[in-house]
Chain length 469, copies 2
């Protein structure tokens, strides 16, 4: 597929340099030969290095250790980890044990970030014994087919990185490398993919092998060629999918270098953030907690769940939330809320049972007939058949609600709740601004889709500047 | 049905005095004999006087003029009104033409409020030619049957009046006199009716003649014994029905004189109202307009419709309405709103089309990419597949919205809209208080069901005081 001058220029910048490729090959060869020497498993390079689809500057090298499928799961973990550790001890400057579906070793070797992952050497993809067993088959499927499309994959990966939608991790909820490769293969190149994506709708199904064996609920479905029951794009959120659609349309209409190398999003200083907040006239509240001691894949979904739960609490108490977002950092995490209302009148409407529910109606009226005038402003009266009173509001200020025990009683994520039970702090207005959260707060206060960001930065540097160079 | 000492005491107070009965009979006889003398129609006393179910102090006398059914509608109106005017000219101190389904004469005769209503003398209730033709049949149905229950009807009418639920007019939406009579007849007395009512639910159907000939959507259905297609309690709102249920339960549990003679609801002075409003911490807004020159039955439903329309406008713009009500007076009418929020931040979220609607998405993003930073705070960004911007709010203050042309663009009642197009004023806080609306504002700020009002006044005068007198 012929590339435009712009795309050729981008490719020149992102193709791995020859010395880079040589270096990575050398390290890989050395590790493979050491595995052969030990002889307890078969080594296999997988991932983008194996497929030639990695980008200049990438430092990831994934090597799988394929063990005999007759091993038990415990044996695989024990022998696998022991072999990986042995290799790493011999080759790496440093290494540590990590855990995905089962444990593996992450090592730092001559500037590369090397994963040594034990798995089963199964005969075919239909006999998978663990989730990672699939990866070698992905490499086998892609390796030859992708050869005519290497440049397209590089362009797509850079395009997705630039748009902030590359990566299947929980924080990004975007497009994995393997997914990029499959999309390029399915549509026959970068440009045809963008043409197609500009017309995508949620619910679209891409099934390269035409062998889908179940229904999927995700907005974007790409059936794994090596597993008819797996959606390769299960991680892609509706928002990331739509951001990709927008970027595809924008690029097709008016291509530019910004789609691959966007200007960095500015981080606001505390004074700039304060000005912006004052201009918005809204009320910012941050709940800061010690980050639970677990990996991002566990903590981030819990933060999101907690965010929605606290948002619901604020809404139920009448403090209208305009927007909310969360961020996880090494030490601390933040739930951030922008309110339209931070203070409410002391009167609150409380709706009771219908009048015709005699027992509950009697309980309700007896209770409120006995209520002091200090705590009851009106009622009981009847509205639409229901008994209603207007009573004293428990929390007239959002800050009081957020500092109350109620926050710990909503549906927080398990480890978030544990962390908050130990300690959390509530901040208001510009006091939410903390150095380590400055980028997060900046993009919260100035929220744009990736496409809008590119359009706006173009406006400033002049239209068309990006075209062709 | 035996009455309690309390009920006997009430009856002694509300039964018409002998001289009162004599006087009303004399006036009626005189008018009937004048009708006979003229000879153009047959005269008939209807309503509570004809049935002996009127209450001491009532001044209403209804006399129907029954014309030959062969007259056309135009002839009936012409001859009927001419006869009624002739009678009134001879007997009344003053009189005027009024209009219900067709025109009639309302006259003031020796302290009585006399209606002279022309109708057709149809053979049976199945041959009604106009809505008022039904009334003579109501009297014929009730007159003999009600004799053993006169006291029960008097008690029920006084009970309903005291509870503010007597009258089928648009403002009250309560229980008409004929309905009270039918209810007493159906259940066999005042006490059995209250027993039954305490267990009523919306949807109950009372059908004395067991001849219902259609479905009804109203919460309380009492099928007219003289018309199987008419619900006598069509005018009773769900709220009035429930208030009656509450009062029935309260009276059965702990009867008292207050159920027939409640203490008057206090009218707040401007200072008291200001204090109460300050204590509630809410924001009161009144929209005052010249009352359209039509009868209550036409204006009140239009005021209610307008109230809901303006309430919707306030809600849509983010000004949370706690409660709203309206009131019609001779000269001016008021729409009254109590807000929880009267000012909002300048930022407002505006949701556009879904990203996958390519044409509209392009229009939306093009528009907002070109929007100045002054008017656009964030976006376009994507949320749940939809394009979203945060832009400048048109009305940050409820007062500005209520004074804007938008108020005239919502679904106001026709004549209310015409009146408001000429002029209306917006008042805030205690400035809503105007002498003529003082009782309305007082009961708005201290809203109770009739039952609550009785319970509270008992509390103050001491429990049980009412019992037996």
């Amino acid at each position: 597929m012929k590339k435009t001058p712009l795309e050729e220029e981008v490719l020149a910048a992102i193709r791995p340099r020859p010395e880079e490729a040589r270096h990575i090959q050398q390290v890989a060869e050395r590790i493979l030969s050491r595995i052969r020497d030990v002889g307890r498993a078969e080594g296999m390079v997988v991932g983008s290095v194996a497929r030639g689809t990695w980008i200049h500057g990438d430092r990831d090298l994934d090597i799988f250790l394929l063990f005999d499928p007759s091993l038990t799961r415990e044996e695989l973990e024990e022998h696998g980890l022991s072999l990986a550790r042995e290799i790493a001890a011999a080759e790496a400057e440093s290494f540590r044990e990590k855990y995905a579906e089962h444990p593996y070793i992450n090592a730092s070797i001559e500037g590369l970030d090397v994963d040594l992952v034990p798995c089963y050497r199964v005969e075919s993809a239909c006999c998978l014994q663990s989730a990672v067993d699939r990866t070698p088959f992905h490499t086998l499927y892609i390796r030859e087919r992708i050869k005519p499309f290497i440049d397209d994959v590089l362009l797509l990966k850079q395009f997705a990185k630039a748009g902030g939608i590359y990566g299947s991790d929980q924080m990004t909820e975007g497009f994995a490398g393997y997914l990029c490769e499959l999309l390029v293969l399915s549509y026959g190149g970068f440009s045809p993919l963008l043409e197609a994506a500009s017309r995508w709708r949620p619910g679209i199904i891409i099934d390269p092998e035409g062998h889908r064996a179940r229904d999927f609920s995700e907005p974007l479905v790409v059936v794994d060629p090596v597993d008819p029951k797996r959606n390769v794009s299960a991680s892609v959120s509706l928002t990331r999918m739509c951001e990709f659609i927008e970027l595809a349309r924008g690029y097709l209409k008016n291509p530019g270098r910004e789609y691959f190398f966007p200007p960095p999003r500015p981080v606001l200083s505390i004074d700039e953030a304060a000005d912006l907040l004052a201009r918005r006239e809204t009320f910012l509240y941050a709940l800061v907690l010690p980050t639970p001691p677990f990996i991002e894949e566990i903590v981030v979904p819990q933060l999101r769940k907690s965010l929605e739960a606290v948002r619901g609490l604020l809404d139920r108490h009448g403090f209208l939330v305009n927007r909310a977002d969360c961020e996880m950092h090494e030490e601390q995490s933040m739930l951030l809320f922008e309110l339209l209302v931070e203070e409410l009148p002391v009167v609150v409407r409380h709706t009771g049972p219908p009048v015709w529910n005699q027992t509950n109606a009697a309980k309700f009226t007896t209770k409120y007939h006995a209520c002091s005038e200090r705590d009851l402003f009106s009622g009981p009266f009847i509205d639409d058949g229901l008994l209603v009173v207007e009573k004293r509001r428990t929390y007239t200020r959002a800050a009081d609600l957020l500092r109350s025990p109620e926050v710990l009683q909503v549906a927080l994520g398990k480890h978030v709740k544990q962390a908050m039970e130990r300690s959390f702090s509530v901040h208001r207005g510009i006091e939410c601004y903390r150095e380590e959260f400055a980028p997060f707060i900046s993009s919260f206060l100035q929220k744009y889709s990736p496409m809008t960001w590119i359009a706006r930065s173009r406006e400033k540097t002049g239209p068309g500047k990006g075209e062709g160079g």
